[in-house]
């Protein structure tokens, strides 16, 4: 069957079976930044923004997404011009193997659009279904808090290429007046 999607601003006509899952369809179309880490619907690696809300693409049949506007990790910043969220992840060493990171960044984008100044608890809650085996969540949480600060204009300039060392990471935490203790 034919489906049409708008992916990262481009319209795509796709031939697929109606219940093909959206993650596989997007990966087939070359959006391999959409990762698959579980047998579906649990790990968060396949999150994309569907009409602005972060959803696990593997858990959605392509027919349910027909006509939708989708943003994948490939549509959020580029290697030359990282999105402030991506830059914050880089600067805070929040990326290790990177497999969970596209989903994590997609989720962060939704979070910060809805809650521009989240508390640490809100950040942890938001990425609660983004499983990461590498980082222990500490640096991703710091990165997300700092990304919020950057996007609110009260943090470092996101794309200056600067690499604040990890201790600076805490500034975001303090600014938001909350720790996990």
């Amino acid at each position: 069957m034919q489906f049409s999607l708008t992916v990262n601003g481009e319209s795509l006509d796709i031939e697929a079976a109606p219940d093909d899952d959206l993650a596989s369809v997007l990966r087939r179309e070359g959006y391999t930044g959409v990762k698959c880490g579980c047998d579906g619907g649990i790990c968060g690696a396949s999150k994309v923004l569907i009409e602005g809300s972060a959803e696990m693409a593997c858990g959605k049949a392509v027919q349910e997404a027909d006509g939708a506007t989708i943003q994948t990790i490939e549509g959020i910043g580029s290697q030359d011009e990282l999105h402030p969220i991506q830059q914050a992840f880089v600067d805070h060493f929040a990326v290790q193997c990177g497999f969970c990171i596209p989903g994590m960044i997609v989720q962060t984008k939704e979070l910060l659009e809805e809650t521009p100044d989240p508390t640490e608890a809100e950040v942890r809650e938001a990425i609660d279904d983004n499983l990461c085996r590498c980082t222990g969540y500490q640096k991703p949480v710091e990165a997300i808090l700092d990304a919020a600060a950057r996007m609110n204009g009260d943090g470092a300039v996101a794309t200056d290429g600067g690499t604040p060392s990890a201790p600076n990471a805490c500034e975001g935490t303090e600014r938001n007046g909350e720790t996990n203790e």
């Binding site: 193997c97 950040v123 720790t179």
Partner: protein
């Protein structure tokens, strides 16, 4: 081939109680360290700077390629599915593949009897050669030993068809009795899992009539003598650990094909490209040179991808189907068919005098290695040989382990490698002893732990040449001091409610850095005419940032910006040899090979600099992308040198550097762990307020990345303290089939983890570095058990620590 008389020194593998301790001279106190290896902080240009992780821009934009992302390059790619045993123990009596073979889109069906299925025995362990693991398995098994053992494999047009074909295969089993509990398995009348003729390369201490794959023992001094003295208190405690899954978010994935030159190529998510190549050559009887193993980005390893778990299957299928085949394990297979941490029972016994002098430590482990023996002996050896040396001042020490088979999935290498099990027992035990004798738990440890200058004989007590070591760097004091500060030791507020209590527990740990005397790393550096470099290194970056550390080490030597170095790692056709990413060896061993390669190239760079500047080489140094004269201040850029070397008139040269590195050294990194907990004495509910872990990893090549390693390891350690791991029903079926069943701490369930790096200088490591990524895996279970004991007075010894167990213990107490 037999290993029995040739045990490998993989951290303690053989029973050699009578062995002579290596002579003092072999471990001189003074290490002949090259001057350029010890840079003061202000002399470091790349090293110990938090340089941006080399692959990050690709990773954060979704452009990085992992194995599954190569699919599109192969239009005729087939997908694999595996039929796995449905019974815990039995023999395949009949297998009907007709329906599967007739399905549309099916290209190959393999059973244990197919021509393309290798029939050689092997181990999936992914260790050096000869492997200190038994060759006890087949790629596809007629004798199945756990639910999940591979029996047949299919290649089809797509994953769904392959799965459907797998489901259409009917297997009849002749079922055998099975045993799941290691203590039961280790008795004369238990069902025997291996016939004596079913194992090659048997390991020291095996007794398959009792399902024992190995038994090891080592001792220094006279433990029994010390225990019998009448001026000592003898304490004994027993501990139990979970079966933890590696749970890498990227599943095991391999893509195999035969290229236009008839060479067999595997793009695979592995930690050990060279060991994988060697094991495949053995299985398929193909020359090593005709196999190419290439590692793209890897989505986490943690030891799970040291095992050659899936690679032979897609290769056999690719040969049978005559087309490229990809096999991506399912998450269910990850939990039931891949590897996991050896669950163990560990008994700790000490003899301690009234005034708190430890006269003897005696540790015994019963390890459940599951259905096969990969890493069985060596992981068990490390239960003793990693944690016990921490207390190198104790005169009498003994370690013994029995490693037994059960009809449960295979275990294997996992971050920490036996040290978490041993550390729980030892650090929990010492805490209990300190309480009993009314000693300060920290001062009690300090009296006995390692110091710089000590000759650590305990590390060598299990045999294996060169396993004793001289301690040349030790930041334990500072780890403890800074950790105490950060956690607020002795300075915490109690909750207002009377039934809630707050307290802190601590634990220490030591690991190793590489396997002493059993590692090899190599690197090659090629200079381009524009002054940039290609760095080819066998070392394996599985997400740790090793590539970046390699670049930083090379950049420090060459005096060039990191961005001028293009790295290519872990492709056996292109990059030099390496043992792979395990045993915390990558920065230390492969990193030193990189340093040597860079120094080799630098020699030639200085030669050309001398020519262009007309100054003796001795006056020249590299820095800021130039060769400059310390005498005249004149300089010439690396680019000018590159062009002159490539296109000069009277002399030409491709500037190349090579380095290989191996060593008998394995310096321990150290960790001091602190856990702050609040416990409700009515319900047993507890909340971990904060974890602090201070680590001495020598000089951190990249502090930002090193902190990330520490925090990730500590999270994994926290999981071992509070989560159930993989459990089985009475039939031996895994109760965990998805992440939904695997109860590990998510972001909101994970406390703040504060990592502290304590810098020391390890003269045997590149620029003073030793390992970092394993030691913080060992420490949360004992620290949390100790914290609960401190807070509400009950001791939890079997992991995980749960509110139910605490409540039950509190009720018992009353």
């Amino acid at each position: 081939m037999s290993n029995e008389n040739d045990p490998k020194p993989d951290g303690g593998t053989a029973s050699h109680p009578e062995q002579d301790v290596t002579e003092f001279e072999d471990h001189p106190l003074e290490w002949d360290e090259p001057e350029n290896n010890n840079l003061a902080p202000d002399e470091r240009a790349s090293v110990s700077q938090s340089a941006e992780k080399d692959d990050d821009p690709k990773l954060v934009t979704g452009q990085a390629k992992y194995t599954a992302d190569y699919e599109k390059k192969f239009p005729d790619l087939a997908h694999a599915a595996v039929v796995r045993s449905d019974v815990p123990h039995g023999r395949v009596a009949n297998i009907d593949t007709n329906d599967a073979e007739e399905m549309d889109g099916v290209h190959a069906v393999l059973t244990p009897w197919s021509d393309e299925t290798p029939d050689a025995k092997y181990t999936s362990a992914g260790q050096s050669y000869p492997e200190p693991s038994p060759w006890d398995m087949n790629v596809l098994n007629e004798h199945v030993r756990y639910i999940g053992d591979p029996v047949a494999a299919i290649a089809a047009d797509d994953a769904e068809t392959a799965r459907a074909a797998a489901d259409a295969i009917e297997v009849e089993y002749e079922e055998n009795d099975y045993v799941l509990d290691p203590e039961e398995a280790y008795s004369e009348d238990a069902p025997q899992i291996f016939g004596d003729d079913e194992v090659e390369n048997k390991i020291v201490g095996h007794d398959y009539s009792r399902n024992r794959m190995s038994q090891i023992e080592g001792e220094i001094g006279d433990v029994d003598g010390a225990v019998d003295r009448d001026d000592v208190h003898v304490h004994e405690t027993e501990w139990e650990t979970i079966r933890q899954s590696h749970a890498q978010i990227e599943k095991h994935t391999t893509l195999a094909y035969t290229d236009e030159d008839d060479r067999h190529v595997l793009v695979t998510s592995t930690q050990v490209p060279n060991h994988t190549r060697r094991q495949l050559a053995h299985l398929f009887d193909i020359p090593i040179r005709d196999i190419r193993v290439s590692k793209p980005r890897v989505g986490g390893g943690f030891g799970g991808k040291q095992a050659m778990v899936v690679e032979p299957i897609p290769l056999a299928l690719a040969l049978a189907a005559d087309r490229p085949v990809i096999y991506e394990a399912t998450r269910e297979e990850e939990f039931a068919g891949m590897r996991s941490r050896h669950p163990m029972k560990v008994r700790a016994r000490t003899a301690v005098t009234d005034d708190g002098s430890i006269e003897a430590i005696d540790l015994y482990a019963l390890s459940n290695t599951g259905a096969y023996g990969s890493h069985g002996m060596t992981v068990a050896g490390n239960v003793g040989s990693k944690p016990m040396p921490l207390y190198s001042k104790v005169p009498n020490a003994r370690f013994k382990a029995d490693i037994v088979h059960t009809n449960t999935p295979q275990t294997g290498a996992m971050r920490g490698y036996g040290a978490p099990q041993g550390t729980l027992a030892l650090e929990g035990h010492l805490d209990e002893v300190a309480r009993d004798l009314d000693l300060d738990p920290i001062e009690f440890r300090k009296r006995h732990y390692m110091e710089v200058g000590d000759l650590d004989e305990i590390a060598g007590m299990m045999g294996g040449e060169g396993a004793e070591r001289r301690i040349r760097s030790c930041g334990l004091d500072e780890c403890i001091e800074r950790g105490m500060d950060a956690i607020g030791w002795g300075d915490i507020d109690q909750p207002d409610e009377e039934h809630r209590h707050r307290g802190i527990g601590m634990a220490l740990s030591a690991q190793g850095t590489g396997v002493a005397g059993d590692e090899l790393g190599a690197a090659q550096l090629m200079m381009n005419e524009d002054g940039s470099f290609h760095l080819h290194v066998g070392g394996v970056d599985i997400g740790t940032g090793a590539d970046t550390a390699f670049i930083q080490i090379a950049a420090e030597v060459l005096g060039c910006p990191e961005t001028d170095i293009v790295i290519k790692s872990s492709d056996t056709d292109v990059t030099p040899f390496d043992y792979g990413a395990y045993a915390s060896s990558t920065t230390y061993i492969s990193g030193m090979a990189v340093k040597k390669a860079a120094e080799d190239a630098k020699e030639r760079i200085l030669h050309w600099g001398s020519k262009l500047l007309e100054e003796p080489e001795a006056n020249l140094e590299t820095g800021d992308g130039e060769v400059y004269s310390e005498e005249t201040g004149e300089s010439v850029s690396l680019e000018e040198i590159g062009y002159e070397a490539a296109y000069g008139h009277d002399e030409r040269e491709h500037i190349l550097g090579k380095g290989t590195h191996c060593t008998e050294e394995s310096p321990p990194p150290f960790a001091a762990q602190f856990a702050d907990v609040t416990v409700d004495e009515e319900t047993g509910e507890f909340e971990v307020n904060k974890l602090v872990v201070a680590v001495d990893c020598g000089v951190a090549i990249n502090p930002g990345m090193a902190e990330g390693q520490v925090e990730g390891a500590n999270h994994m350690s926290y999981e071992m303290a509070v989560s159930e791991g993989i459990t089985f029903d009475d039939d031996g079926r895994s109760e965990v089939t998805s992440f939904g069943d695997y109860d590990w701490p998510t972001a909101s369930e994970t406390p703040t983890i504060e990592s502290i790096l304590v810098e020391t200088h390890e003269p045997t490591g590149p620029f003073g570095a030793k390992s970092v990524a394993e030691v913080p895996t060992n420490t949360v279970p004992p620290a949390l058990s100790n914290a609960i004991r401190e807070t509400v007075g009950v001791r939890i010894t079997d992991m995980p620590i749960t509110p139910e167990k605490i409540r039950a213990a509190l009720e018992d107490d009353e």
